[in-house]
């Protein structure tokens, strides 16, 4: 039985190649994670286990998809930056997008038990994703700034909000109190009412998480003359840095290098 009669339907598949020499950012986002985090009783405003689970999945991503040069995560969202030079999957948008969300999701479910040994997974975690292209390094940097500033704004707000709620306010009252406040007002509130110095909160909460390849020299053996033989070893690491300033980028110039 030949299949040729029906094969015309393949002609409806449209090409979706991404243009060359653009940085490809795949941003995935927890879908209805408000409900998901309630169901699994995540700590508020930040659940460190949940963040570490996200980070662990992101590390697996960067190990698995070698064209990912950097990833930045905050809350239930992660942005994966693919090299502008990547030719993986013929730069087909749907391949790149679907493999990213699928692999991440798979990892999230598989690793759940490692980060929540005492909690069963009661709902299927699900992530949506989108691709955004940036033609230059400067814009990739600005994209990351945008996400990190957002992390900061949200975290400061959520920290205040949840401290107020934990101190007895209703959610609505807390929101009312915070309406129109500036950054420094919020820091003041945390310090005055709760003795919290915002800037001493863990970096992972305030700065989000960076995943990238780092290189370390390691000794392989000692040669015949007693000299160490070293090897440059690549490994994917997680850190919580300021990525708005130039410091991090100056120290890791190989991450975002324009052709």
């Amino acid at each position: 039985m030949a299949n040729s009669k029906y094969e015309y339907v393949k002609k409806f598949e449209m090409e979706d190649k991404l243009p060359p020499c653009n940085w490809i950012i795949v941003r995935i986002d927890g879908w209805h994670f408000h409900g998901f985090s309630d169901t699994h009783e995540f700590d508020k405003p930040n659940d460190e286990n949940a963040l570490n689970l996200m980070n662990s999945c992101a590390v697996s991503m960067a190990e698995h998809f070698t064209d990912i040069v950097f990833a930045y995560g905050v809350s239930d969202e992660y942005s994966f930056i693919w090299s502008e030079r990547s030719q993986s999957y013929g730069r087909r948008a749907s391949k790149i997008l679907s493999l990213c969300v699928s692999y991440f999701t798979s990892m999230y479910v598989i690793k759940w038990k490692d980060f929540f040994p005492q909690k069963d997974l009661k709902k299927p975690p699900c992530f949506d994703g989108r691709i955004v292209l940036y033609p230059r390094v400067k814009m990739v940097r600005d994209y990351l700034c945008w996400r990190q500033v957002d992390c900061h704004i949200n975290n400061q707000y959520n920290t205040c909000c949840w401290m107020l709620i934990k101190s007895g306010k209703s959610e609505k009252e807390a929101q009312e109190l915070l309406k129109g406040t500036l950054a420094k007002d919020k820091n003041e509130l945390l310090f005055q009412q709760f003795g919290i110095n915002y800037n001493e909160l863990p970096d992972i909460f305030r700065k989000g998480s960076c995943v990238y390849k780092d290189y370390a020299e390691e000794m392989v053996k000692v040669d015949a003359c007693g000299n160490p033989v070293k090897r440059r070893r690549e490994r994917v690491v997680v850190g919580h840095f300021d990525i708005i300033g130039d410091g991090f980028w100056d120290e890791h110039p190989y991450i975002l290098k324009e052709d």
Copy 2:
């Protein structure tokens, strides 16, 4: 700290709305499942548990995404047909694609233990996906024919190939023997050498799996006069039918109904 300075990066997000009045097919496909099935020692040529796991995930999909009107699966691939009228997620291609692959993947990992209680998941299952649009029902039908004919061709070939291998041939020898054979030659070979009547093999192998909504009347209670009060109940079901002919479609006219 205002974020406005960096928000220009949002302008690089491109609209990807799918055109109205087209049937949306999301086809997902196991990624490197050859290796995945080896690792997990799937039965050859068909592993019934693995197929049932795929089907169970597809049922969850159809229950969860209510605009999916039909799904067809074979081997490690599944096609989900979204109604041409669907307005879900503003018909944004990347939302629909990413949620489909993510939800399916999530389910696959979660349900693994139910179908393989004695096997640990050793590798992360991963699916790629793509969207294809069809402007008319006739083409959706032809698309499904294309997949079911493919199922038949592959299954017949694989059945022969694996019977030969199990009888002592090498993979290469088996492939040599089958080169250029017609459908009826393969059926003949199965019958003569292995006493297998191809047409008596399970439908799930030969026809693939259909997932769709069925309606059953059920009695809710008995009213004051002793008459049964019935309710039309929708449930998502799995079946293994011929979907090339008109029979199935004539019996389920509500599934693919053109505006």
Copy 3:
């Protein structure tokens, strides 16, 4: 001198094939034609020569691009319907779009003198264009209804407005008087104040223009037995019909025939 060093720039050309089995409508629109019609002192509300020039260009289009099955024009706008089956230019959107606007523009300038023998072309006419796809005949019909209803609404309004202006009102006063009036109010106004029966105005103004292929039998010669030998001859014609009802389409069933 080899060119290979620079040829990588060709990889930035993106495919823009239109999906199969969709009707392709190319709508072109006079660009800044308000100014253009002032400069060339077109009659208001309708300039018959200008409309005939548009129609003549549209006829040339349908003769030149044989996959155009129908065209509908009103004012400085024309919609060209390409057969859903057209494979011209590999269905590449930019080829189809650019050739349509270029050929139409070329014809418009070349034919100007035939329709305005006493007027010099003082400004370059320019048309923008866009492509819209329709998956079914019904929607193509509805698209044409949309344009013809628009023609009617605009023409009725403009006729009233210009009669008022010609009778001494300022443009602003005329607009004020017409604000909120219904179709029948406008007909009443035309009849009461100016003795004009709207429905007796020329069809070309009220209904726009249709361009399509018609078939006529013509006698080629007389055969040996004295019987006429006939030939079916195709020619592109212009007409001003109602295309909202079924009449025209029932008489010309070959124009929009779905596969």
Copy 4:
């Protein structure tokens, strides 16, 4: 008569915004210009009037569409570079493409008589067009190099070919003789057989044409103290330069300036 019933058809119009911060190149190309140049008996291998007509149209383009920063033409082809910053027409691809080809075509027909006073336009000139995006200045430069190298290769070949034809060879014989020859062989052939020093042929043939905005200081008046009051005046100019090397670009740094 309300139009709302049909307005749903507008929803089939798809957004086609070009991504920000990319240089937009619109390349137009004479369509079937081989026949067009035969019909109008253009000089071979180059018709200076035809080239000047193309250039004159390109100048009008750069004057009219102020976001065009540079244009490069060769033979019946012209590339228009729109600034990466351009927001014209909302960066909608079909607007930009259609207006470019339409305006150019309009100009071509209108100006024909100025460049071919003794020749009637016997066929409608027609141009197709396409849009290509480049994310960085370097690639725009390489694109222009690609076109200029192409100009050189074609012109050298055509010059040889037509000299041979004019000296009595058939077209086929000429092509045979040139098969496999290198650049220096062709120059040698021109010099030995026809006494032509290729490098002394007019720049317009060998280098193509550049259209861009130049700035000149001009004296407006003399002030009260007798000092000249000057004004910087912009005008669109045509030149025939090498645009592969850095010279031209160093002298005109404002043309391609990356954000």
